[in-house]
Amino acid sequence: MMPQERIGVYICHCGSNIAGTVDVEELSSWAGEALRHRGVVVARDYKFMCSSLGQDLIAKDIKEDKLTRVVVAACSPHLHEATFRKACADAGLNPYLCELVSIREQVSWVHTDKVAATAKAKAVISGGVERVIHHEPLEPMSVPINPATLVVGGGIAGIQAAMEIADSGFHVYLVEREPSIGGHMAQFDKTFPTLDCAACILTPKMVSIGSHPHVTLLTYSEVEQVDGYVGNFSVRVRKKASYVNHDVCTGCSICEEKCPKKVVDSVFEAGLGYRKAIYRPFPQAVPKYPVIDAENCIYFDTGKCKACEIHCEAGAIDFEQEDQIIELNVGNIILATGYDLFDARRETQYGYGRLANVFTSLEFERLTNAAGPTNGEIVLRDGETKPKAVGIIHCVGSRDRKFNNYCSVICCMQSLKFAHLVKERTGAEVYNFYIDMRTAYKEYDEFYQRVLSEGVHFIRGRVAEVTDVSNTPEEEERLVIQTEDTRMGKQRRIPVDMVILSAALEPRHDSDEIAHMFGISCSVNGWFIEKHPKLDPVATMTEGIFIAGCAQGPKDIPSTVTQGAAAAARVLGRIQQKELALEPIRAEVTEALCSGCRICNNLCPYHAITFDEAKEVSVINAALCQGCGTCVAACPSNAISGTQFSNEQVMAQLEGLLMLNMAEPVLA
Amino acid sequence: MTQQITIDPVTRLEGHGKIDIFLDDEGNVDNAYFVIPELRGFEQFCVGRPAEEMPRITNRICGVCPEAHHMAGTKALDALFHVEPSPAVKKLREMFYMAFYVTDHTTHFYALGGPDFVVGPDAPAAERNILGVIHKVGVDIGKQVIACRQRNHHVIQMLGGRGVHPVAGLPGGWAKALTEEERVEVEKIARENVEFAKFSLKLFADVVLGNQDYVDLVLSDAFTEPTYSMGMVDENNMVNFYDGKIRVVAPDGEELVKYEAKDYQKHIAERVEPWTYLKFPYLKDVGWKGFVPGKDSGVYCATPLSRLNAADGMATPLAQEAYEQMYETLGSKRINGRYQPVHYRLSIHWARLIELMFAAERMLNLVTDPVITDPNVRVVVNNIPDEGVGCVEAPRGTLTHHYWTDENGILTRVNLIVGTTNNYAPIAMSVKKAAKSLIKQGTVVTEGLLNRVEMAFRAYDPCFGCATHSLPGQMPLEVVIRDSQGEEVQRLSQFT
């Protein structure tokens, strides 16, 4: 029978790169003869196939010899596959009917014996010819991109990302767990190294986001379910009942004044201050509406009180309010879910929670914050005594085999900031206990120098313990920091009145669930994994899901903002494309052959494979599939086929490489 | 000049069986060889397999009696893993096994051996098959036979998983328990079986015993061969198919030995001949004296008849009744309470029907036993396996499986002594004898004559390598007579 395909074989000299080690003329005449019965109708060799003249050769043959397949034997597909595919496409041949096999990187450059190299090149070409016979014309898949975007997390990263996108005129849904956006930054007083006040730079952004025409703010809300794929995610959000009707509430906060129930504020005030059962986390909260914390509300507990309702002139209180389920359709998602602070109690030897005047960094932020519980007064727990000496311990829970191996990045600068503030406001002696000083960013080290010059003490060494057991009269009634001073090379005991622990940044306690819900993954430490640590730090392995800020790993505010903007830029790029073209290398289930054994169901890291309970067959979502082919190889029924790497194609190439297609099977 | 008559193929015996008859210069039978030309080698290729698979591998030795190999293999696993099955398990297995016996004996009597009698040994061959039987006795009966096979195969599938090649056997247990609904169904089937067995015995009495020619044929010297008889007996020395000791009695009825199946190697050895792929077992206690009958020759039979010969009787009433009737009719005397063995090969058919009755009655007893529906018949086994022997009575003779494994239960060694193999020597002898007594100087070898030669071994229901069957009782015999140069001088076949 006549071969069905008309195949052209093109052998590149690549100057002497290939021709130097491989007998290219021999190859082309051999291919023309020995592979004719396989459908090879043209075989040429040429100096530089990738040159425009070389490409013209191919184009000409495609037209004149009505080629249906093209095999180019040249360099690595990673170099010129696109080139030759385009050449074919321009000549009217589907680009995927062209196969580029490497006889340079894999033959001429790595072998020396011309005879052996030429023999191998023949095998490689015969493999390409057998393979290309089984190629199918493919079209890139295009997915329409829904222009709306979901941003999860209302910290500075999320705010920045949302802002960038909204300002470009595309809609953003910003979901925040807490009653207000702002995140950790809203809790800070000053920001290093410039020491400008966090609120001053953050709140304007919060306000404009809150009132932005293209932003739907969903605070006190959590994402419950995510379906779909890049361009077409459908997201279910639960908006928790706030028992306050935002349509009528004016945010006058009279309800907060009148509410009789005081609650320790362990979130915003880090446990240093109180809030009411109906509350806004802080005065500049966005949105301005309060929420009722049902767990602590007297009415919800006893059925009596209703003080807020009584005093609310707007009549905004609504005890009957229920959680609201909101369905969103978005094209892209940015996860900016931030971090949790390391629980300093776990470093028991530092006494946090046991020794009153040991504070965490976040507590201290509140302490120094003018809007904080002490109106910015740096005092001991008693609320009045000013410390005469303050110890600041770095790396609490970071760079510590017992807890987290990683460096939390911000602690050094944060501690320097604290040191400066203590000095400035109390004149107390300040001791920094550090392992290494890490001030590697614009103007960071300058700040370090400045604090040094302010007379802050720096002691290098891991602190052994913080204790209130005194050995000397001067230690009495004080906290003693027991440490090794590795510069002096001796043990030291330093009495202080206040200890600040620069606690580590940790992944959110529920980062695993979040990752699973959005179909991405977490590193061993629990941070979200980026698509590429260097070249693609804000994308993930799942198309259409991006990450920004500390959710991806500890970082300071500038980097966080940068990532927020970067993620936004990536999303905007997608939105502008309107449609997304995906490589047509995909796996597909042939329903008629699927027995529903479900072997394949949990093999896909992108959750592209689902089970259709009604039809009892497995289904692959082409837009989620990345084409790795693992399920194709695993399907015991051969019910899953993989385009461009089908069983037929690989087996054919295999037989070609073994020269089984020769009239006489020869094994070099 | 010497002539060689080749009967090829006899029938499929792990392939085909072949008889080579050599005539001397006078044209008398010099010698006759019964040849088994195929070997599959289960004993070797099972090595390396997990032992627990043996019941599901060795049943492929024979698709006609896979249940026998499945059961022998399963019992070998009990021993191999040192686990004693619960009474419920034993009874469930035996009931399953009885259903198999009913269908297998039915198949043989009506489709294999039966035609010789029902339609007659000299009837045209074209009629001597199951359809011939049906024509003779009527379609209704034919349908009864089919129905009997079907309902019992239904039980086999219910408990074994599949109608052919069951899968349920496990060390110390059985994969499938019997539910009450199923039990009720099986009980009904068992009762039908008893009725069918009664009917079959009556048919035999009417058709065979009612015909003096047949009786003479049965009693004729050409079909008489006194040898030792082997069979499995229960604690009361009654016939049992599933479990018991192996008893061997001399031609005159004297007990030679009664041994535990696991000791088979002490009492059985197998000869090898270069002209056949099948081995010839014989009694070690007597010794191999060649292909000769009698008390001094280690040759023995393991057939329905020899099972009856070796036992003191049948454990169920109707079967016992039929048992006594057979021995009385064949003129056997009771010696200290036991009938003397009989050695008329053709009466094996009769013995088979008596066993059919026993199997039916036994099945009924078991299915009405309260423990039969115990749901806990599958057990977890943790013992370290080493070596085990399993033995049952296959319809065609005592069947022994012997396995050795490593501590992971991977087989290192396998030995199988298969039902019909026991009878290889006696069959060879019977064939030779029939040939000698039928082919004399100057005889023209005719089809009827060939059929009589054939009848000599058909009575054994031969299942060589336990894979031999020809349902119409129709051996595709063909005789080629060549001169010493090998030139064909006469070719004839029994069905022209």
Partner: protein, 356 residues
């Protein structure tokens, strides 16, 4: 068609166990219908025939010939050629003819090892002169010939051209009857026959499709041999770690074995375009082993996997239980019964100890 206008039917067994014939008989009363519809011209199990007649038949005389049994020796192969020549439609009937079946497990070992084991090392054998069966034996009266046993068990399609395949060990009666009806329709009413080479009497999907147990995602943490676990009722056996060939095995039997709590044996052979049933099952099973995390140290990973795989006894014998002849490799290079080479001598001595 013969004088009486009936299609001519033949059935033959090569190296098989007879189960295929029993399964044909198990179509019950339909057997009488078969007798009515067909003119049986060759069927050792069910009717008379003349060998010399078969040889005398004109080529293609038999309309439908069901051939069961594998090709184990020269005689089997001769019959295959004869019947191919005499038959219009030759069907590989049952697992042996289709893919070798259980007897093809012999392809894991060698002819020599088989003869050694059976005739020399068997614990009960009495063979002082170490006699082995010979193709030709001189006896006082003349000479006796027996067929040559092959080294490798072959499937029917490896010796002759085959028109259709009916898989199964044995094919289930309801499937046999279904196929016969199709053939009759084709022969009598000229209905369309399936394309040559089709697998008939079975379905396009795996056993799981017919299996009574609901399926869910699979993660196997260890394998259980059938006596190591009493399966939880109503749960897929493979998900419980009990090896079941169902996912890689063609359906059509009705998923009988799993119904009694035993994993599918795999007797209906591979699916669709699958070239090697064993490799498919191997790949599927290895894919769903549940242990091991990407972060783990490589040695640790391998240890974890080894532990799980140690619970899977005799992988080759399991994956290729029925399809050995038709597998890509077809046979083992040396004795592959889990031993590098057969050790007859050693076995022999142990045997003596056992015997005494």
């Amino acid at each position: 068609m013969s004088e009486n206008g009936k299609p001519k039917f033949g059935m033959y067994w090569a190296s098989s166990c007879g189960g295929c014939e029993i399964s044909v008989l198990n179509i019950g009363e339909h057997i009488l219908t078969v007798d009515e519809i067909f003119d049986v011209v060759f069927w050792p199990v069910a009717a008379d025939f003349k060998y010399k007649d078969v040889r005398g038949y004109p080529d293609g005389y038999i309309d439908l010939c069901l051939f069961n049994g594998a090709i184990r020796n020269s005689e089997n192969e001769e019959m295959a050629h004869l019947l191919r020549q005499k038959s219009k439609v030759l069907v590989a009937f049952g697992s042996c003819a289709y893919e070798g079946c259980i007897p093809a497990l012999a392809n894991f070992t060698s002819k020599e090892a088989i003869l050694q084991t059976v005739f020399l090392d068997s614990p009960s054998v009495d063979n002082p002169d170490r006699v082995l069966p010979q193709p030709v034996t001189a006896v006082p009266e003349g000479e006796i010939r027996i067929p040559e046993m092959y080294e490798t068990v072959k499937s029917l399609d490896q010796v002759v051209d085959v028109d259709y395949i009916i898989p199964g060990c044995p094919p289930e009666p309801h499937q046999i009857w279904a196929v016969l009806q199709v053939v009759v329709a084709a022969l009598t009413e000229g209905a369309e026959l399936p394309p040559k080479g089709s697998i008939v009497g079975a379905q396009e999907t795996a056993v799981c499709e017919e299996c009574i147990y609901p399926k869910s995602e699979k993660k196997i943490f260890r394998f259980y041999r059938p006596y190591e676990k009493v399966p939880e009722p109503g749960v897929c056996l493979l998900e419980q770690g009990i090896v079941c060939m169902g996912p890689a095995t063609r359906g059509g039997c009705g998923a009988l074995c799993p119904q009694v709590g035993m994993g599918c044996r795999g007797c209906y052979g591979p699916l669709g375009e699958v070239k090697d049933q064993g490799a498919r099952m191997l790949s599927a099973m290895a894919s769903v082993i549940g242990v091991g995390e990407p972060e783990m140290d490589e040695r640790m990973l391998e240890r974890e996997f080894e532990t799980v795989m140690d619970t899977l006894a005799d992988p080759a014998g399991t994956f290729y239980r029925f399809s050995m002849s038709h597998s890509l490799l077809r046979r083992a290079k040396v004795n592959g019964n889990g031993h590098a080479e057969p050790e007859p001598a050693e076995a022999g001595t142990t045997n003596v100890e056992m015997a005494n």
